[in-house]
């Protein structure tokens, strides 16, 4: 347990000390929120969709979880390049402990970022059903964050250096964000987009979070939460398993 804890705290320390990264990763979603929120707000309302900022906020929080989660997982590549991974690999501890500590650390950072976004949005017009909704929201956020931290780890075990990162960004992270219902409702979409969004794990995170925060959702929470739980368990397990199989250069 001590092993998991020390690697968890290591992730947090690294994050807190890197101010510029922290600010950059907050600026992006806020910029999205303001640009889309206020830009498309009037049209959304006229079309009968209701308050767009309210609709959009859970989507933007999920975006933060997606980006930060995957990024903290992919950071594993840096650990490998800077050699730190070797130090943990020759230590008398199981690799499962190492990667669970790491992944939990990454997920914690992502949730913290998501929570910051949530707090900021309260000042620019976001109206949750109740302030107590933040508690179940935190739980959903933790699941989503773990899902993507696990996915990031799995990707990192397959990449040799950070050059592949652009591919991941363009062909995985961005499509997952845009086709998740974070920005628009899934209800009346053309068939093929609907199919893609239904197989997109991000969709269930956004939908569950939207349900607990503003009471709207496409799926029943009885469907989205179990799916989310299963998926995050799956990515964390697969990511950790792949991590235990890494061969050192």
């Amino acid at each position: 347990m001590m092993i998991v804890y020390i690697l968890w705290i290591r992730q947090l320390k690294r994050f807190v000390r890197n101010r510029s990264r922290m600010i950059a990763s907050l600026a992006n979603p806020l910029f999205m929120l303001v640009a889309f929120g206020f830009g498309f707000g009037p049209i959304f309302e006229r079309a009968g969709g209701g308050d767009y900022i309210n609709f959009l906020t859970p989507g933007i929080i999920s975006q933060t979880l997606l980006f930060t989660g995957i990024f903290t997982g992919i950071e594993l590549i840096w650990d490998r390049q800077f050699g730190f991974l070797k130090e943990t690999f020759v230590a008398p501890v199981s690799r499962w402990q190492i990667i669970i500590g790491r992944t939990l650390g990454g997920a914690t950072i992502a949730v913290f970022q998501g929570l910051l976004i949530l707090l900021i949005t309260l000042f620019i017009g976001f109206n949750p059903v109740s302030y107590f909704a933040i508690l179940p929201a935190l739980l959903i956020m933790l699941l989503t964050a773990s899902l993507f931290a696990g996915l990031g780890t799995a990707i990192a075990t397959m990449l040799d250096d950070h050059q592949g990162f652009q591919l991941v960004m363009n062909f995985l992270i961005l499509p997952m964000f845009f086709l998740s219902g974070a920005l628009f409702p899934l209800d009346d979409l053309p068939g093929f987009i609907k199919v893609i969004s239904y197989i997109n794990p991000m969709t269930y995170g956004v939908d569950a979070l939207r349900y607990v925060l503003i009471g709207q959702s496409h799926f029943s929470i009885m469907l989205s939460v179990p799916i989310l739980l299963t998926l995050s368990f799956a990515t964390v397990s697969v990511g950790s398993y792949l991590f235990t199989k890494i061969e050192v250069k």
Partner: protein, 266 residues
């Protein structure tokens, strides 16, 4: 089980590692006595680092047997890992953490109780003259300071064997001397076995009690400095080394790493 092996703390029999068709280490045999300072020499790409990686449980051999402090690095990883400390060829510190945080993380990974950890951290950081800088971030350290920190860290759990893969590479003579002074002291005081590689022949000649020369994956000579010199009828280790391994310039190390990378992708 350690007793019947008596004084041999590392034993290697017919050890082989292949990466695809490439044979990095080819049926090597050697042993290191407890408390010995053992130099493992060879040109670039000879198989030095690959051998160290096998001994330290990082990669598994293709065939052959190893014993490290009486344990099998393949089947008894946990006990093997507790037995040794290591300074890798490339730095393996977390640059975003302070010197003390790096030490502490190591101590926790090796399960050292916190009061003992505190005591040893102070002791070791003082010896390598980094106690004053303990709260500085490692990213602000020079190459020599990082190396000293890695040495202190590698000793925190009082290993029986200390592996050093080119510990003095890129360091100035002052730092090199200091590092070796310290390692020799440790070797005498704690009976720690030292297993190191280097490209500095005069360094190996000065500190090693036994020297093995490896080339193209095979051990081509093993013995004391005098034995190596008389075997090759030379008067310095550098000449002996060149006579044994030839004068051709070797492929860069990178190519062997590239090969491993390719293997890993499959």
């Amino acid at each position: 089980m350690q007793k019947n092996q008596d004084s041999k703390i590392i034993e290697v029999k017919n050890l082989t590692k292949k990466f695809g068709d490439f044979v990095a280490v080819d049926k090597i045999n050697f042993s290191v006595k407890k408390g010995e300072i053992f130099a493992f020499l060879g040109p670039n790409g000879a198989g030095k680092s690959t051998t160290i990686k096998m001994l330290t449980t990082l990669i598994k051999p293709t065939t052959g047997e190893m014993s490290v402090n009486g344990f099998n690095p393949v089947s008894e990883q946990y006990d093997t890992r507790k037995s040794f400390g290591i300074v890798f060829q490339d730095p393996s510190l977390d640059e975003e953490l302070t010197a003390l945080e790096n030490m502490n993380l190591h101590g926790v990974l090796y399960g050292i109780k916190s009061d003992l950890r505190e005591k040893r951290m102070k002791e070791l950081l003082s010896i390598v003259e980094l106690w004053d800088r303990k709260d500085d971030f490692v990213k602000n350290f020079s190459g020599g300071m990082k190396r000293r920190l890695e040495i202190a860290r590698g000793l925190l759990h009082h290993p029986k064997i200390f592996f050093l893969d080119e510990p003095t590479l890129g360091l100035d003579p002052q730092t090199r001397n200091k590092i070796w002074d310290y390692i020799k002291k440790l070797n005498v005081a704690e009976q720690t076995t030292i297993f190191f590689t280097t490209h500095y022949m005069e360094e190996a000649a000065r500190v090693a009690q036994k020297i093995a020369v490896i080339d193209k994956g095979k051990i081509i000579s093993c013995g004391t400095l005098e034995e190596l010199q008389s075997q090759t009828s030379t008067t310095s280790l550098e000449d002996a080394f060149l006579k044994l391994t030839g004068y051709d310039i070797r492929e860069e190390q990178a190519s062997s790493i590239d090969r491993m990378r390719q293997r890993r992708k499959k």
